[in-house]
Amino acid sequence: MLIELSGVSKIYNQGRANEVRALTGIDLGVEQGSMVCLKGPSGSGKSTLLAIIGCIFPPTSGKAAIADRQLARLPDRFLTLHRRETIGFIFQRFNILPELTVLENITLPLLPLGVPPKERRQRAHELLERFAISHRAKFPAGQISGGELQRVAIARALINNQPIILADEPTAHLDTALSREFMEIMQQLKEAGKTIVIASHDPLVFDHPAIDRTVTIKDGKIHVS
């Protein structure tokens, strides 16, 4: 298993008056090269689970192993280093910085890795060509279309060739055509060997034939129907 969670719980603000239990006893395994959809309503805990898989923070209790690395009690610095090498993120609304050019947005994950400018540009251009947006390389990201923005976000998630792609509500603000296009790209990436976890409550995502497994989350627990 590339992603293995066992009895994972997450409590925000533990011990304080505003304590929130976001996840309780999550057991989840994701095999390498598979595509899993985390389905559930807003506030169900999908993003928290995605954040734990994405090494943004460790679980409060339970075991989480991502790409053979145990996350529990791993200091923040090491979580960041592991995230850099292992996880590519695609955000809701894509979280592209509009003032930066398309090229600059795509190469952002490479800056703290000390990748020289020439190599950064080379890697970015390969992805831009792959997603047919090389003509937009020098455009400010705030001036490109929604479909192009989506491809920029995917390119950014792939720039460091991470084995795991996590997508948080990627189609929440896309029309049907763009949502279908997004899933087609995900399918191609899965075929290329990437492991993909998508948090979504969009039927176009969880009913897509490329999805190997859909996990329903409700009130912070995996819901077995």
Binding site: S47, L50, I56, F91, P109, L111, L113, G114
Partner: protein, 401 residues
């Protein structure tokens, strides 16, 4: 090991590159901060440079002053000194020359200007101290030459001589005393001679109606300049009622005067700097929703808190470095080409006849470092320390609910 350090260097260069692009993206904000900061540095640096230049100028010019000056004190105030002391002083071993002098201020009511009048027996002064070198034209009046005077550049302008060589001043009884200009002081010595009028001892006595047998002070020249302090002590012991002023003391007084004025101005300007730093702190500690979002995105994309702090650090270094460079260059130009027009009234007194000096600022590494310590370092602290709070924005805030 070499690969790791190269990667680290590349990383820092990448972060620096990002900081530069970040400043460029917020260019209006960056430029306004830079301009205000540069203005504060300009004011402080100007003050420092003018003070330095004036002190240097005073030191150069004070070479012409006597090694020891004697004045008679009575009830804590200066009064005329008997000429009879001259013989007593000449008997002190080590004294080369004793030159009597009459000096005072003459207020020109027509032009509302104060002139410094000095009557002395120039011929009695030793070689090298005769003020001839301070002259731009003409010659010092001889002991028997009545009604002749050497004047400073500002007096020449104030009297509007325009080719004429004569002018008149009022005696205390309001009768007129006529003078012929026998020479003009060089503008190089403006700081001391701008409002100076030198004449014979007899003319000065006549102008101020000072009784014979009295002068205002004695100029004493010593054989060995290293013995100034020793001789001063001998004089003080021999004539307890006189005030003994040595050249080093006068030099020090000038330095203190300029230093005090500069210090006063600097304190006012430091208050402006403090206000700017507080504003910078306030700005840096507040975080707009866009900035929070950017930090969260960068952290999810693998940026560490230290990387984000490094961006803030480089941004502050670039802004403060450029502000420092611009402020100090502007200060230099202000002092050299505009004769420190903004601060002349504060630093050089309020005399109507202000000297038109050609100031040459001396820039020393120590002064530059001091200025950096008082401006750049507080700015860095005010922007980087609160940035720590900003940089700890949790990465998960970039994710949905």
């Amino acid at each position: 090991m070499a690969t790791i350090s190269r990667t680290n260097l590349e990383k820092q260069l990448n972060i620096l590159d990002y900081a530069l692009s970040s400043l460029w993206r917020r260019r209006l904000k960056s430029l306004s901060v830079l301009l205000v900061f540069a203005a504060v540095i300009f004011l402080l640096a100007s003050f420092q440079m003018v003070t330095q230049a004036l002190t240097d100028k005073a030191r150069q010019v004070l070479v012409h002053t006597p090694e020891i000056t004697l004045q008679k004190m009575s009830a804590g105030r200066q009064e005329a000194i008997p000429l009879a002391y001259q013989e007593q002083l000449a008997g002190i071993f080590g004294i080369r020359k004793v030159v009597p002098r009459i000096w005072g201020y003459y207020f020109d009511e027509v032009r509302l200007a104060n002139y410094t009048v000095m009557g002395m027996a120039v011929d009695q002064m030793p070689e090298g101290a005769r003020l001839d070198t301070a002259l731009a034209s003409g010659a010092m009046p001889g002991p028997d030459e009545q009604g002749r005077a050497v004047i400073g550049q500002a007096i020449s302008k104030a009297l509007a001589l325009e080719g004429r060589a004569t002018f008149s001043l009022f005696r205390p009884d309001l009768s007129l005393k006529g003078f012929t200009v026998s020479g003009e002081f060089s503008s190089d010595t403006d700081i001391l001679t701008n409002d100076l009028m030198v004449m014979s001892l007899a003319d000065a006595r006549d102008l101020f109606a000072l009784p014979s047998g009295l002068v205002t002070d004695f100029c004493i020249y010593v054989a060995n300049p290293k013995e100034i302090e020793t001789i001063a002590k001998k004089i003080a012991a021999a004539l307890p009622s006189v005030r003994v002023l040595t050249r080093p003391q006068i030099q020090k007084t000038y330095q203190v005067v300029f230093g005090w004025r500069s210090g006063f101005g600097s304190i006012c300007l430091l208050a402006a700097l403090a206000a700017f730093v507080i504003l910078a702190w306030d700005k840096a500690s507040g975080l707009s929703p866009e900035e929070r979002r950017e930090i969260a995105i960068l952290k999810v994309l693998g940026w560490e808190t230290s990387d984000i702090l490094a961006v803030r650090f480089w941004e502050s270094v670039i802004v403060s470095g450029l502000a420092c460079l611009a402020g100090m260059t502007a200060a230099y130009l202000h002092v050299v080409y505009f004769a420190a027009a903004l601060f002349r009234p504060v630093l050089m007194g309020w005399s109507v006849l202000r000297p038109e000096l050609q100031l040459a600022p001396r820039i020393e590494a120590g002064d530059v470092l001091l200025l950096i310590a008082f401006t750049v370092i507080p700015y860095l602290a005010a922007t980087v320390i609160p940035a720590w709070r900003s940089a700890t924005v949790p990465a998960d805030s970039a994710l949905g609910g």
